[in-house]
């Protein structure tokens, strides 16, 4: 198993998470702390007004990302280290695409955790218990599906569908709208551009 497999699978699984980290978290040390420790301290909320106070949504996003990265790393890193060693994939009749499928599964798990984090925090804040139930059930569903493991098609496909649905839900929960999405894609979102300018 080659270095190409190793690096390829690493970047498939952790590329988006790393990109999210670099572009949204690494610039602000407070967010890094939330990422690792996963909780907010009340005292930090009352801090100087001229800096951006970490809002609840930001905390939800960061902690979701933190959980996702940890979960992805824990489930995939042993497989990755095996991929550097000698061996033949699927010599006993299993699928030879084991690494690739694992990498995509890890990616979907990481992203799902981010979305679940946002949605879950929102549910807790607004005290809508059905949201929490849905998050819990989809989590259980995605995890249970992995037992279908030789049949990667169904497993991955349904996981990705759930991820897209969760993503859309999280987007609207976090305050996005079709209009803001359009503005962002067409680079016409003045607030976003100004924010980027200021933080440089």
């Amino acid at each position: 198993m080659t270095a190409a497999v190793f690096f390829g699978c690493t970047f498939i699984a952790f590329g988006p998470a790393l990109a999210l980290y670099i572009f949204t978290i690494a610039s602000d040390p407070l967010r890094v702390i939330f990422l690792i420790a996963g909780k907010a301290s009340e005292g930090l909320k009352s801090i100087n007004p001229d800096d951006t106070v970490p809002s609840m949504r930001l905390l939800a996003y960061v902690s979701g990302l933190g959980f996702g990265i940890m979960s992805g790393v824990f489930s995939f890193v042993n497989t990755l280290s095996d991929s550097l060693g000698p061996g033949t994939v699927g010599i006993h009749g299993d699928s030879p695409q084991f690494f690739l499928n694992s990498a995509f599964m890890t990616l979907v798990v990481v992203l799902l955790h981010v979305f679940w984090g946002v949605v879950f925090f929102d549910g807790c804040e607004k005290k809508k218990w059905y949201i929490i139930l849905i998050v819990f059930l989809t989590h259980l569903l995605v995890s249970a599906q992995t037992f279908l493991s030789p049949h990667y098609g169904i497993n991955l496909l349904s996981a990705y569908i759930i991820m897209v649905l969760m993503g859309i839900w999280a987007f609207f929960v976090a305050g996005g709208s079709c209009r803001s999405l359009k503005l962002c894609l067409l680079c016409q979102d003045k607030d976003f551009l100004l924010f980027n300018q200021r933080s440089r």
């Binding site: 040390p29 690792i36 420790a37 801090i47 890193v77 280290s81 095996d82 061996g87 006993h92 299993d94």
Partner: protein
Amino acid sequence: MWQQCHWIPSVSRPSAARGRVMLTFMASDSEEEVCDERTSLMSAESPTPHSCQEGRRGPEDGEGATQWGNQDSEEDCEEDPDPYACSGTPGRPPGLEEELTLKYGAKHVIMLFVPVTLCMVVVVATIKSVRFYTEKNGQLIYTPFTEDTPSVGQRLLNSVLNTLIMISVIVVMTIFLVVLYKYRCYKFIHGWLIMSSLMLLFLFTYIYLGEVLKTYNVAMDYPTLFLTVWNFGAVGMVCIHWKGPLALQQAYLIMISALMALVFIKYLPEWSAWVILGAISVYDLVAVLCPKGPLRMLVETAQERNEPIFPALIYSSAMVWTVGMAKLDPSSQGALQLPYAPEMEDSYDSFGEPSHPEVLEPTLPGYPGEELEEEEERGVKLGLGDFIFYSVLVGKAAATGSGDWNTTLACFVAILIGLCLTLLLLAVFKKALPALPISITFGLIFYFSTDNLVRPFMDTTGCSCRVSTL
């Protein structure tokens, strides 16, 4: 039963406050703790010049009891050429102080995450690739009892005895250091420190390089090797003990901590290592916080004498701006700062005495005002002993975790969480705190629970899609 011991000069643990490492050339073996008093964490501020006291006393005096503005303001700065910039801005409300402290506290947490992570990454990478450091090849003289015993009870007893011996050696050396410091035997301490750095930078680097080259089967001739080691070591000595770019000094400190941790990982037997880690965090807690603890006494003595923090074996995260060192024209835009590693006490004379306390106000672009620039110089200092023991924990987890990466990662995250909490406490209490207890406790908990609970679980649930290896 006494095992065969290796003769390596011992490196004692340096003091927390000004941290000189004492090198004891014991006739027997020694990987003595270079970490002794080093295992405490404090804010970067050394005592500022007395006349610049009013208003702002943030987390500057991290060591020991901070005296909030009680020092004589009559004392002239000239008689005490403190290299740290005076940062007095009178009239600042204390509430704002707290908020800024917490805000910049977060920044300094990150500034410590990076070096701790780097040190652990180096140690884990070495452990996983170079077989030398996981081979059992004798024990230190400080852990004489073997662990190759037939019964579990005997093994446990031996490891506890090993720990007792190790900790008592550490305590004795610490007290010796405190005594030396109290009686102002600076030359002795200084010499000891230099000898220990020489040992780390030359001998251990040579061994390390040799093992790495062996592992990767790279041939290197002796002249090249000696040239490399000589350059590495000489630049390291200059950077650590004299002047040098801050980043380079930090890099060298990280490297020597990693080397020391690797030696501990190699020579400490399994169970003894874990018991020693637990015991040393308890010792750290006691020594730094108890009123009669040796480290606390050291810190307070340094405080009384108003001496700057010892540079060579404390990792400092911030730049230090000197009075009289970088003559800046306050009116110039974008003034250049010379970040340098603080030098030792006896070389102050080389700087001469400033005629009056100058407040350096470089106008860095983008900062809203001078207050923030003065904030920037406040860093956090972490003793090298902390680096070493963190890396020992993670390295041991990597070495013995049955090839499993989850255990290593869990310990790594645990240590970072502990460090974060410790730094938060530092921002709250504003005095020297032991950095080991919380992190090591979390690390030990995570190691044992991951190794005994999580790993079998993951192995069992994952075994249906295991790749077959030849």
